[in-house]
């Protein structure tokens, strides 16, 4: 089977005031369709950096990133935006919902960027909210939702766009254990029932217990 996502000798070095800080050192990783994978490791190990590079949010210093058979590390800013728009879903640690939009509108945001018709957007966003049990909160704004509900809306936003892969950066870090667990269960069932590929960066042991595969990172490298 062809990997959905692949990195080859992926290296990222941050330069600030001529001081170089290596974040990733030659990471080789393959993610296959339908996987539920966690990137684990201590803070500063390069989890988020790897996630961002795999999603085309940042450009590597060296190495290659392949998504769906296409090399993406050399794409332009606008091409990367198109790639993220159509192929990648993101869930962030801080939810990052747009405060002036309702839950339904947030869930439909990516579809609006794609220019999909209003009825289609609304139907897909509502369906995603239903999957995550948020349909009753569809017309609430983020400040009227709890942290767990906001994160479920954020997952619905990624889900509604039906991407090839959802990349989640510490999705349970800001949630209490009960809410975090519920969210994990939601994502796990989406993975099982709809075959959506998930890759997380996390050090949440509850999440690590439920993934198919754990990729451990240490000092910017995959630990043996």
């Amino acid at each position: 089977m062809q990997p959905l996502l692949q990195t080859k000798q992926l290296t990222k070095v941050y330069r600030v005031d001529a001081i170089e800080t290596p974040a990733l050192r030659g990471v080789n990783l393959e993610i296959y369709p339908g996987e539920f994978t966690a990137l684990a490791g201590p803070s500063g190990s390069g989890k988020s950096t790897l996630l961002y590079l795999m999603g085309g949010l940042d450009k590597p210093t060296a190495g290659e990133v392949w998504l769906g058979g296409q090399r993406i590390d050399g794409l332009s800013k606008a091409q990367l935006a198109q790639l993220r728009l159509w192929q990648v879903g993101f869930v962030f640690q801080a939810y990052n919902l747009i405060p002036v939009l309702t839950a339904l509108e947030n869930a439909a945001f990516v579809l609006e960027l794609r220019g999909e018709p209003r009825e289609v957007r609304e139907a897909k966003a509502l369906e995603a909210l239903q999957v995550l049990g948020m349909q009753d909160y569809a017309h609430r704004r983020p400040n009227q939702l709890s942290g767990g509900q906001q994160q479920r809306v954020a997952v619905a936003r990624a889900l509604a766009a039906r991407p090839k892969i959802i990349l989640a950066d510490e999705p349970t870090a800001n949630l209490d254990s009960k809410t975090g667990l519920a969210l994990i269960e939601h994502m796990r069932s989406l993975n099982r029932e709809q075959g959506i590929t998930f890759v997380f960066s996390t050090h949440d042991p509850r999440l690590l217990e439920r993934v198919d595969r754990i990729v451990r990172l240490e000092d910017g490298q995959i630990a043996a």
Partner: protein, 410 residues
């Protein structure tokens, strides 16, 4: 369900106070621009109507009359034929005038004047009397004895209504001298004009200086607005061609070049003021949009991360700026139009510039009125302000890197 338009609309009202202040500044600029443009329109119309009422829209004279020194060289040959051609060519009314340099005397004093004998259609005669007649009446068309003088000229000659007036016009082709009776006193805005004006009927002036002669034919078109003046550009050369060589057809611009120059300066002057108003308002718009951008950098970073392209982000910033300016423009425009409507019935400016204004042909009562392009120009300014103010913030927004933006703290 939202779209980028409604998202931008919601974004600008996140900081209600700041946005209201900014939209208010744009509204104020729109209000003042509309007001000044309507005021300018009113002044233009008033000055134009005053001026053309006294000199006509077009004047037919002998070609090169300014250089001619002899009275007889100034006489229009074949006045009756010229009038017949005018009747066939134009819908305008006309005044036939004979201007004669003359000496006017009372019992004890005399003054050099420009004696004018004219024949006016009833409507123009009525308008002339309404505007300039201070006392008595104008000489009737068939009156060979009545004369009207400028009030200050009559004072200088120590004459009152009913007194005899003696006129000498040496070197002319008529009787050269005559005795008349003072029937009217005239008051003109310009003191110099009042001090040297004397009016006879055309028949009386012709009998005195040039039987059947005239030196000037004024054409008065039924224009009430300066914007209609553009039609003269078509009519003038047609008339000149039909009258043939030896005669010139001059517009009021050529007859009064100084006022024509003032007209040409008025609109650019108001537009410069408008540009300053909108420039100041634009600085507030830049400030509001850029502050909004700084405060929402993380949010914009998320949008970029989710797939918003540089053009989409820039478009959203531009849209916010345009919506902010449009909101102000709608309110300022509505208030401006209401004010203009309220003042379109006329208001006095004498308190502002006193009697001096009339010396320059300024109207004592101004009727605010908008010209066809005043509203598009004002809205164009508001639109340009929105676009220019958004240019830099939009550029910054379009260059946001998602990872850096999401880590940004203001």
């Amino acid at each position: 369900m939202f779209n980028l338009f409604s998202l931008s609309w919601r974004n600008i009202w996140r900081h209600r106070g700041r946005s209201l202040l900014t939209a208010g500044a744009v509204g104020l600029a729109v209000f003042f621009t509309l007001f000044y443009l309507s005021f300018l329109g009113a002044m233009e119309n008033s000055i134009y109507n005053n001026l053309t009422a006294s000199v006509g829209h077009l004047q037919v004279r002998v070609e090169g009359y300014r250089e001619k020194r002899e009275f007889r060289d100034l006489l229009i040959p074949g006045v009756a034929q010229v009038e017949a051609r005018l009747a066939a060519q134009t819908q305008a009314q006309w005044v036939v005038a004979l201007e004669v340099p003359a000496l006017v005397a009372g019992e004890t004093r005399s003054r050099g004047v420009l004696l004018i004998g004219d024949r006016r259609p009833a409507a123009l005669r009525e308008a002339f009397a309404k505007q300039y007649l201070a006392e008595g009446q104008l000489p009737e068309a068939d009156d060979l004895e009545g004369i009207a003088l400028g009030a200050s000229l009559a004072r200088a000659l120590r004459l009152k209504l009913g007194d005899p007036v003696y006129v000498y016009a040496p070197g002319t082709e008529g009787r050269g001298a005559g005795a008349y009776r003072l029937v009217g006193l005239l008051r003109f805005p310009e003191a110099a004009q009042e001090a040297r004006s004397a009016y006879l009927s055309l028949a009386a002036a012709q009998e005195l200086a040039a039987p059947g002669g005239a030196t000037r034919i004024e054409l008065h078109f039924p224009f009430t607005r300066y914007s209609q003046d553009a039609q003269l550009a078509v009519v003038q050369p047609q008339l000149a061609a039909s009258l043939g060589p030896g005669l010139s057809v001059e517009s009021w611009r050529e007859a009064s070049p100084a006022i024509a120059q003032i007209f040409a300066l008025l609109t650019p002057l108001v537009l410069i003021f408008a540009a300053i108003f909108f420039g100041l308002a634009g600085l507030l718009v830049v400030n509001t949009i850029y502050l909004g951008l700084l405060e929402r950098t993380r949010e914009l970073g998320v949008m970029v991360a989710l797939g918003a392209g540089p053009a989409q982000v820039a478009r959203m910033v531009v849209l916010e700026s345009l919506l902010l300016c449009s909101s102000g423009a709608v309110v300022g425009g509505a208030l401006g139009l209401l004010t203009i409507a309220a003042l379109s019935g006329g208001f006095s400016l004498e308190a502002l510039y006193g009697p001096v204004g009339s010396e320059f042909g300024l109207p004592s009562v101004v009727y605010l009125s908008l010209r066809a392009w005043d509203i598009p120009i004002t809205l164009g300014f508001a639109l340009a302000t929105g676009l220019l103010a958004a240019w830099w913030p939009a550029r910054v927004a379009a260059r946001l890197e998602p990872v850096e933006a999401m880590r940004f703290t203001a």
